[in-house]
Structure formats: C-alpha cells, structure tokens
C-alpha cells in the first residue's frame, strides 16, 4: 500500500554534494490544470476531495430521487426490479464510500495541518496519492453504470448472493474492485494523517490542547487504519471467489456465508463511527465559537470520542441479530450496543451545556450544528431501539432501519459537514456565504429531511420491507410513501441551494472587488484563524507556539483586574500577514496521479481479461519506481542537503 517518502535526516545547513537518482523531473511552477493534477498542497487536495465528493453526491442524490420516484405510488413501474436493485445499491455505496467518507477526508486534509500549526501533512505526495486513488476507485465504481449496470446486492453485498452463481453480471465486480482501490486511498490517508497529528504539531500543541476536530479526526483515522484491512480481506475473498473460482462463500462446499457478514460488519460498524466522528468534531468547533463559550468538558469530549472508537469494535454483530448467530452472541452484542450509547450521549450533553447560557449567534453554521444535535439525537434514540434484540427482530430490513441510518448519516454527518462548509468557507475561499440563502438552505433541508425520513419510521413499523421495488395499494403504504417522496424532492432542491449560494456569494464578492474577509471573520477560537483568508499556500509564516486550548482565543481575550473578560486584540491585529518569503514547500509531482490511475487498469483487467493486468501492473511498477527515484524537491536550491529522498513500499 503505502508509498512512503523518506526524507534524509540531515540537519539544515549541512551541504552534501549529491546527484539525483532518477532522470525524472518534478513539475515546477505548474499552473492551471497541471498545478491541480500534480499538487501536493494539503489545502488543494482537501478542496479536490470536497469537489469530488460533491460530484458523487449529485450522482447518489439522483439515485435517491429515482428510488423515491419509483416508490411514490403503488404498483409503479418507473424502474424495473433489476434497475431498482442497482439504483439503491449504488445509492448506498456512493453515499457511504464516495460522499460521506471523502467529505470527512476533505475537512481533515484542509484543517488538520492548519489546526495543529503545521506546514503540510507528514507525507505530501502520499496525501495526493490518497486522493487520486480514491477518485480512481470512485470513477471505476461508477463506470459500471455504462458497462452493464451497477452492483445490485445492497451496499453490504451479502454472501452468497454476491457470488457469481447468483449475481452473474459484472456490477458486483465493479463494486468490489472500485471499493478495493478506494480503500487503498483510505489506508494510506490514515497512515499519513495519524503521523501528521502525532508528529507534526506546533510547539506547545500538546495532545490535550488539540482542537476537538483534530481529536475526532485522529480517532477516525485509527478506525480507518484498522477497519479498512478487514474489508479488504473480505473483498479479496470475494474477488477470488468470483474471478478465480475459489469457494470461500460456496455453500455447496460447506462454506459459511456468515463469514462475509462478520467480516463486513467488523469493518462496517467502525465505518459508521468514522463517518459521524468528523462531523462531531466540526460541530464541536462551531458551537463554542457561536455560543461565545469554550467547549463544555473538553476532556470528556475527547475521551468519549476515543471510547466510541474503542467500543465501535465490539458491537458489529448487532447488524446480524436475525442471521442465526445464536442467543449467546445476540445477548452479548445487545448489551455492548446499549453501552455505546453512553459516550454518544456524553457528547450531546456537552454540546447542550456549551450552548447553555451562551450568547448564541444563530447563523447558518450554528443552525446546521444545532440541526445535527437534534436530528442525530432522534437517530440515536431509534438506534437504541435496535440494540434491544427482540425489537430489532421486528425492525430488521424494514424502513425503520432506513429511517434510523438516514437520521444519523444525513441528519448527523451531512448536517455537520454543511455546518463546517458554512463555517470554514471564508477561510478556504476568502468570502462568506450568503446568510439569507444559507437560512433557506438550512430550514428547507430540515423540512425536506424530516418529511422524507420521518414517515419511514411509520412505514417500517407497518411492515414495509426495505429494498422493495414496489408495493400494492392494499398494503396501506400509499400515504406515507407519497409524503416521503414529496419530502425528498424538497430536500433535493434545498440541498442544491448550497451550490446556488456558493455561486451567488462568489459573484457578489467578485463584483464588489473581492474585499478581504479578514483572517478571523467569526471571532473564532483555534489557530487556523490566525492566518489570512484564504489560507496562504505556506500556511503559517512563522510556526505558532501554542500555550492553551483555544490558543487564538486566549490571545484575543484576557481577564482584566476585576476578573472580567476583555478583548485585548482583534483577530486581524494578531493575524500573521501571510508573507511566505523564505518558506520552502514540497515540490509537486506527477507520480501520485499516475500511480493512482494505474490501479483501475489492473481492476478492469481482472474483470474483463487478465491480459489487461499486464500493462496496468507495469504502469504501477513504473510509477512506484518513478516515485521512489524522483529527484528532490529542488536541486537548484539544495540548501537543505535534501538528496533524492524517497524509497518505496510494497504496493499491496
């Protein structure tokens, strides 16, 4: 997997004559498209993660609307049963792997180095690779739309239905290999970001002074690091079964298809936490800023996040209560699942306590954060009902489950991400988003969201099974399905208001002559607001020295003699001017994108003809060596004694 960059442990000042190892040149002074394709800047990579996720969000959203359109009325025939299977499978897969996860990665990439006071991540080229390989996997998965139809086995693709005997079309192969490839990106990203957080903090930025978002991202990346390989193993087994005739899930040979369920959910349950934790981190930054109070119970916030990370590994079988795992397992996992509600409850309580008595500023970012707290709580409560195994037996595979996980993932994760977008938009792009459209955006989404998913609780308890292509009039599902469909279109349209807002705010800003939004437009708390907006390419002119939690806020406010809190400086007064002179940034590189896109060639080869694998593998090997032998950043200004500084790692 990882392609690791090896810097030479030479102190600056030492000069050492050294010839470059390779003949490959690094792109320098690239502009326009080439700049974006070869960049190793964590901020640009973060933006690209976000844009790619939004692109996939639209595909997944269209799939969702197609599902709702089909279910709007009984006995509908807009989608055939087969198409319907593919559409809901791809909807789930895209939303989980290509939307929620990468938006989390987008925020992590952009904010992590800024919040810990670093110039970039630990391994900038691996960072670029992580993004491109995610994109390559995502595009490969989506290419199945045009190559015989998407996967049709549900997003968790249970065995033995996912075998070649029951699913002969190539959709599941694309699902398998696309996610396999995207998983490589998650894994290398996890290694990179964990190293960054542990090792690249500014002086004084101790672990217990890190912003909550950094903490939640750290936990998220550990979850990825340990969960992705389990999915990879399961996918390897499936690959061998489908492409090479192995028997791992072949029931006639005595195989136990529950193995797939176990492996998938050992990955899958940490997965749901790693989708929600970045959003928890985001609102933990937004709520204190707009309550004008420090976060309540910071250590509890941190340790409950860690506890969620830990306990997330001990509850996977609650997805399998009706699969016949036996009463002992059901009991054990049921109890464990009830316990995991505790740290989540701690978080909800802390957010409420942060807002309690605060001077609330109810702008769009804050509204979305409050939206997360409320909507996620509803989803969390319905989640606890699943922990009760007898009740879960009734709810399994009904719309009640669909309602539950949309409340936690849309009402939780996506609302959190929207809060983050509105909050950090000025830092990223240099202008604020329009508040008026923002409020429409928020209230429209809340309305549409609850209209869409609220009725699903009722439908589920009435017995409407999930993944049903249609239903009969006599079943009594008509009304709530219609409401849900109307809601989904409200939700779809109001979600698009984000894009309208971005476009409109940008044109207004441009028309006004691009006024400077200031380093600290929200009077915020963490150190990413102490640099100019948009963040300069080199991040910090001078590496900050941190002496407090919410360090930037403590620089702005101090107690006077009477113990009253007074502002001693404004953010703009304290902000670094953004002078990058003398700062030395890692040079861009072609190899991350080349290496990333060599992998789908191997993937297509595995599906269509093994001969294709040969050029794919060759390109992979060439890229790895090209990467490893790439000359140092800047041979002409080799004042740091940087020699050829790379060594490669196995490409798993």
């Amino acid at each position: 997997m990882a392609v690791i960059e090896e810097p030479l442990a030479l102190p600056s000042g030492t000069t050492k004559a050294r010839r470059p190892l390779g003949a490959f040149s690094r792109p320098r002074n690239a502009t326009g498209l080439v700049d974006w394709l070869t960049t190793v800047d964590h901020k640009k990579i973060g933006i690209m993660y976000g844009m790619a996720a939004m692109f996939f969000f639209i595909i997944g959203g269209v799939a969702a609307l197609l599902i709702r359109l089909q279910l709007a009325a009984p006995n509908s025939t807009i989608l055939s049963a087969d198409t319907y299977n593919r559409v809901f499978t791809m909807h789930g897969t895209i939303m989980v792997f290509l939307v929620v996860m990468p938006i989390g990665a987008a925020f992590a990439n952009y904010l992590l180095p800024l919040q810990i006071g670093a110039r970039d991540v630990a391994f900038p080229r691996i960072n670029a690779f992580s993004f491109w390989v995610f994109l390559a996997g995502g595009l490969m998965l989506n290419s199945s739309w045009f190559l015989g139809g998407g996967a049709n086995g549900g997003w968790f693709n249970y065995a033995p239905n996912n075998g070649a005997a029951f699913s002969p079309s190539t959709g599941i192969d694309f699902w398998n290999l696309g996610l396999f490839i995207a998983g490589i990106g998650s894994l290398s990203g996890a290694v990179n970001l964990i190293t960054t957080v542990l090792n690249m903090r500014a002086p004084g930025m101790t672990l217990m002074r890190m912003p909550v978002f950094v903490w939640m991202t750290l936990v998220t990346q550990f979850l990825l690091l340990f969960a992705i390989p389990v999915l990879t193993a399961a996918q390897l087994l499936l690959l061998l079964d489908r492409q090479f005739g192995a028997n791992f899930f072949n029931v006639t040979q005595g195989a136990d298809p529950l193995l797939w369920q176990h492996l998938f959910w050992i990955f899958g349950h940490p997965e749901v936490y790693l989708m929600i934790l970045p959003a928890f981190g985001i609102v933990s930054e937004v709520i204190p800023t707009f309550s004008r109070k420090p976060i309540f119970g910071y250590p509890f916030m941190v340790f409950s996040g860690i506890a969620i990370g830990f306990m997330g590994w001990g509850v996977w079988a609650h997805h399998m209560f009706v699969s016949g795992i036996g009463p002992l397992s059901v009991t054990a996992f049921s109890v464990a699942t009830m316990f995991i509600a505790v740290p989540t409850g701690v978080k909800i309580l802390n957010w409420l306590a942060t807002m309690w008595g605060g001077k609330l500023i109810l702008n769009t970012a804050m509204l979305f954060s409050i939206g997360l707290v409320t909507q996620f709580t509803i989803g969390g409560l319905s989640g606890v009902t699943h922990a009760v195994a007898p009740s879960d037996t009734q709810q399994t595979d009904t719309y009640y489950i669909v309602a539950h996980f949309h409340y936690v993932l849309f009402g939780g994760a996506l609302f959190g991400f929207f809060a983050g977008l509105y909050f950090w938009w000025p830092k990223i792009f240099g202008y604020k988003l329009n508040e008026k459209i923002g409020k429409w955006n928020f209230w429209g989404m809340v309305l549409g969201f609850n209209l869409t998913f609220g009725p699903m609780h009722i439908l589920g308890l009435q017995g409407m099974a999930r993944r049903m292509q249609t239903y009969d009039v006599s079943m009594g599902f008509n009304l709530w399905n219609l409401v849900s469909t109307i809601g989904s279109f409200i939700l779809g349209v109001t979600t698009l208001l984000l894009f309208v807002n971005a476009w409109k705010s940008y044109s207004e800003w441009k028309a006004a002559g691009r006024p400077n939004v200031g380093a600290d437009p929200w009077d915020a708390r963490t150190i990413e607001w102490s640099i100019q907006s948009p963040a300069p390419e080199h991040n910090f002119d001078v590496t900050p020295t941190v002496s407090d939690l919410d360090d930037f806020w403590h620089q702005k406010y101090a107690e006077d003699d009477e113990g009253k809190l007074r502002q001693v400086a404004t953010g703009d007064e304290l902000a670094q001017p953004g002078n990058g002179e003398g700062v030395h940034l890692p040079a861009p590189s072609y190899w991350p994108i080349v290496l990333a896109f060599s992998l789908p060639i191997v993937g297509y080869g595995l599906i269509y003809s093994l001969w294709f694998c040969i050029p794919g593998t060759l390109l992979t090997i060439i890229s790895i060596y090209g990467w490893a032998l790439e000359p140092a950043d800047d041979l002409d200004i080799d004042d740091h004694g940087h020699g050829p500084d790379q060594e490669m790692e196995p490409a798993v």
């Binding site: 030479l10 102190p11 050992i266 590994w313 016949g324």
Partner: protein
C-alpha cells in the same frame, strides 16, 4: 521528557532513533536467533509427540507467542526503541492493532461455535 531531547538542529543526524549503542550487539542477535531456532525445533518435536487436545496446542501457542515477542522486541527493536522518549508510541500503535485483531477474530471464531 521534554528536557530529555533538547533538539538542536545543528546536531548531526539521526540522534533520536539511530541510537545504535542502545541496540544489541551482533552476539546478542545470534543468541536470540539460536533461542528462536531451539524453540522452533522444540515446536516441531512437540507436534510429533502424538499428543492431542490442549496438551498439544497450548505449549505450541505459548512457544509461538514467545517467538513473536522475541522477533518484535529484538529484531524489530521494539524493546529498545520503547526506551527512547515517546518510543512507546511504536509499540502502542502496533500493540493496539495486534490486541484488537486477536480479540475481534477470537470473538468471530467463537461466534461460529455458538451459531444455531
């Protein structure tokens, strides 16, 4: 701990994790290797003793774990690196993974036993 590594950027390279004097000598590596070889020999002999059940399996597992720890501790320098400041991070990261893997997969295998 902060004081124990006063980092001086003009210092020569590699002083934090290339502390080779902290690493074992060639002779010690050979000793470890001989011990590993002996354990392997005992393992093989044990498997030919015709024992069954726990009498066979438990000693084999114990010997396996000992070998594992020796390789990770000595050859991979974990027991030496962990003595340097913050060096515990290495084995905590790796150890967490190892413990997690063992626990999770033992539960999986147990779950298959209790399946209906």
């Amino acid at each position: 701990m902060t004081d124990s590594i006063t980092l001086d950027s003009t210092d020569t390279h590699g002083h934090s994790d290339h502390d080779d004097h902290a690493h074992p000598t060639e002779k010690q590596y050979w000793i470890v290797f001989v011990i590993l070889a002996v354990i392997t020999a005992v393992e093989i002999a044990w498997s030919y003793m015709g024992l069954e059940g726990p009498a066979l399996v438990v000693p084999l597992i114990i010997m396996m774990v000992v070998k594992f720890l020796m390789i990770a501790g000595v050859f991979m320098h974990l027991s030496f690196d962990s003595k340097m400041p913050n060096g515990r991070t290495f084995y905590l990261c790796f150890g967490a993974a190892m413990v997690l893997a063992i626990l999770v997969f033992l539960v999986v295998l147990a779950a298959f036993e209790f399946q209906i």
